[in-house]
């Protein structure tokens, strides 16, 4: 990669970091850590842009950096207006870097600089780069141990501990433990006397004075100890106990000569109370966690993503070759070959997992984009909306993650536009004026589940049904459940928006979401309660390259069913009627389930065996069955694309190569389910269908 490409890639990362920081600063304007992050981002872009000859970028970012420098020094304080301006400036830097420059862009630069200078006059211009001591960027950074013993009359004097502790915790990462000042006795305990002691361990870029500020109203009465822990603070329990004065070094050394854990020994020996040991252990865990975070990260290298794709292809081929070798090994029964095949299998699995892990990215890397979207759109719509995100560390294959962005944007825009009500409507409904959208990612049964939920007005089933009847999607005679009606929003061209807005309501949203998710072998479901809100859940495989599959046989052909869709397998006697029906209904423990005869669907000529295997799968929250001749077993399946000739064949996702060199087709369960919904032949089911 040449210097310019490196700059472009890094600039994107810095701009994302800057945007994230600005959105946090909008809520917590004095967050020193975020101010430093934003300053560093601008500072780096300014310097690097100059190095690659993008002088105008360097010139413009210098003014943005000046503003951050003054925020850092406490000369100016950020507010909503300045954050909006800085977000505009960030967008403009992005345009300057990634779009072709024009006179119009230069004019915008000057307008923005003028507005920046209104807030941050140039007489306070940033210290030239060479004069910034590196340590200044991290000034105040450190770990603090804060012991708080509130006055015993705090409660009756009207002082609650929560506001103080909340303020302290907002300063940075923290760990809090609570203990008793004196162990209360059951009968004599006076609940109105505060008998609690708090130990707060804090990692924050703040001064001791800032911490003292949190105790402004109580510092005369409460016992407060604030100790700075050094960067190289020992994480050994013995050192921590010595440091807090609980015991001296000689006693620790004496007791350490025996092997059991020091904490248990000290506690049992009576030299230190169990409570003190617990507090020290808490501190130990905190220091270790913080050290882990601050340990210089491993060196990284940037690799073009197509090289990773090639590596993945090669690993996939290796999985197939190993499958072939193990087949040969089974047939020939040569001990040395068996051993070599097993070893190859182990190494292949390890290589596959490592290669997967390289391609996995945390979903949190996309959350910043959504936060900005919610912020800007809510303002545009005049609504008060907050976005809460959970599970940012959940990882997905980079290809899945890249293709997930647009569907999530559609869902979020819908939530904002149609879900969350205006503040007055919410208040009239007894809700808080600010709506909440939650974006949550979790691992679930080998898949990743992403849920977007809001506490808005929910779906109006009557309106949806009326619109669906009007458009001929369903007829008035169809007796649909509320859930089925809600699912109509995924129908193509469906929209109930009273008016078409720029945000949504063009009827090209939710069906596109469903199609995009299903193209990723995922599923999308909806759950909505009128007046309470809507939750849309997307379930996705973690990767698109290799899946766990169930290998089945029909006649002489082999097929793979993605294992994450399989619920159970049932054996049935073959009946005459089975031979001729493309779909039928089976009674599975009282549930009537539509079952597709794959033999008919794929025109397999060979005779049916006496026993049929029916695999119950789940698609779109519904169960349905697939009838096959034999279940061969579970297989790791490398997905190969079908040739264009077969790409539009119903029910096929791809193909894979088996160990013996044969090809097995991989079934697309969503597509098969849709096809059996379209078929009406199951409506003519025989009444005598035996229960399973």
């Amino acid at each position: 990669m040449d210097l310019l490409n490196v700059f472009l890639e890094e600039a994107r990362e810095h701009l994302n970091a800057l945007e994230e920081s600005l959105l946090v600063l909008e809520q917590s304007p004095s967050d020193a850590s975020e101010i430093n992050t934003a300053f560093r981002a601008m500072h780096t872009i300014k310097g690097s842009a100059g190095m690659v000859g993008l002088d105008h970028v360097s010139y413009f970012t210098h003014h943005v950096e000046t503003l951050f420098d003054q925020v850092r020094k406490g000369i100016i304080r950020l507010d909503h207006a300045s954050i909006s301006l800085l977000l505009d400036a960030k967008d403009h830097v992005e345009s300057l870097i990634f779009k072709e420059s024009s006179n119009e862009m230069m004019a915008i630069s000057e307008q923005l600089i003028h507005r920046l200078q209104d807030i941050a006059p140039t007489e306070h211009a940033v210290t030239p780069e060479a004069e910034i001591p590196p340590s200044q960027l991290d000034e105040g950074e450190g770990y603090w141990r804060i012991t708080i013993a509130p006055d015993e009359n705090a409660f009756v004097d009207g002082f609650d501990c929560m506001p103080v502790l909340r303020e302290l915790q907002s300063l940075g990462d923290s760990a809090l433990t609570v203990g008793w000042r004196e162990q209360p006795q059951q009968e004599s305990f006076d609940p109105l006397k505060c008998n609690l002691v708090f130990l707060l361990l804090l990692s924050a870029d703040v001064s001791k004075d800032s911490i003292h500020d949190a105790f402004m109203f109580v510092q005369d009465d409460w016992q407060i100890d604030i100790d700075r822990l050094s960067f190289n603070e020992s994480d050994k329990l013995g050192d921590i106990l010595q440091d807090i004065g609980a015991i001296d070094k000689a006693k620790i050394e004496a007791i350490q000569n025996s092997k059991p854990k020091l904490g248990e020994l000290l506690s049992e020996s009576g030299l230190v109370s169990e409570k003190t040991v617990d507090q020290a252990l808490q501190q130990q865990a905190f220091i270790r966690k913080e050290k882990e975070k601050t340990t210089p990260s491993q060196p990284t290298i940037k690799v073009p993503s197509n090289k990773l794709d090639r590596l993945m292809d090669l690993v996939s081929e290796l999985v197939i070759v190993h499958s072939a070798i193990s087949q040969v090994s089974l047939v020939n029964d040569i001990e040395a070959l068996d051993t070599a095949s097993e070893e190859l299998g182990r190494l292949t699995a390890e290589l596959r997992d490592t290669t997967f892990s390289v391609r996995m990215l945390p979903i949190g890397s996309t959350f910043g984009r959504f936060r900005r979207l919610v912020r800007d759109l809510s303002r545009e719509l005049g609504k008060q909306v907050q976005l809460e995100t959970y599970g940012a560390d959940t990882e997905l294959d980079k290809v899945v993650l890249e293709r997930l962005g647009d569907p999530l944007v559609h869902i979020l825009r819908n939530s904002l536009d149609h879900g969350i009500e205006m503040a007055d409507v919410r208040q009239a409904a007894g809700k808080s004026s600010q709506g909440t959208i939650k974006l949550e990612a979790t691992y679930e049964s080998g898949s990743v589940k992403i849920t977007v939920s809001d506490d808005g007005g929910g779906l109006h089933a009557d309106k949806i049904l009326a619109k669906a009847i009007e458009r001929g999607v369903v007829s008035a005679e169809d007796n649909l459940s509320v859930h089925e009606i809600q699912n109509l929003i995924f129908e193509p061209g469906f929209s109930t928006a009273a008016k078409v807005s720029d945000v949504s309501g063009r009827g090209v949203g939710m069906d596109v979401v469903k199609t995009s998710i299903e193209a990723l072998q995922g599923q999308v479901t909806i759950d909505s309660v009128q007046g309470k809100g809507t939750a849309i859940a997307i379930t996705l495989p973690m990767t698109l390259a290799i899946i766990e599959g169930l290998l089945v046989r029909i006649g002489i052909e082999y097929y793979v069913i993605p294992l994450n869709t399989v619920q159970e397998c049932i054996e049935e006697q073959t009946t005459e009627s089975m031979l001729h029906q493309s779909t039928r209904v089976i009674n599975c423990r009282g549930d009537y389930i539509t079952c597709i005869n794959l033999r008919q669907l794929f025109h397999v000529k060979q005779d049916m065996p006496k026993l049929q295997q029916t695999i119950i799968c789940r698609a779109q929250e519904q169960q349905f069955g697939l009838s096959v001749d034999e279940i061969v077993g579970q297989r790791q399946t490398v997905i190969k694309n079908l040739s264009p000739l077969y790409r539009h064949t119903t029910g096929l996702l791809g193909a894979t190569i088996l160990g013996d060199g044969n090809v097995a087709l991989i079934l697309d369960i969503n597509d098969l389910y849709d096809s059996c919904q379209l078929s009406d032949s199951y409506e003519n089911m025989p009444a005598e269908t035996p229960p399973c």
């Binding site: 409660f155 929560m162 433990t177 609940p191 008998n195």
Partner: protein, 90 residues
Amino acid sequence: MSKKTVVAPKELTVANAKQSKEDWLAQLSEHQHLRLDLSEMEEIDTCGAQLLWFFHQCIIAPKTVSFFGLTEHAKRALAIIGMQDLPLEK
């Protein structure tokens, strides 16, 4: 073993912590196990939280106390003062 379920008040604060303590201890003197239903508790301050912590940590065996139904709001309040580990019935 006799059990008694008691619903905690909507507000568990310095205003009623003393009364709640007396009520709950009285129930505990008559029953072996006290179940505290926290589902209706909408407001809690540090004084109320201290009372819950006391019933969690300081009741003498064989008497026992368990908790259930903690609302999200109360959960967040307890977490602020380091009592996020208050065990709840499963």
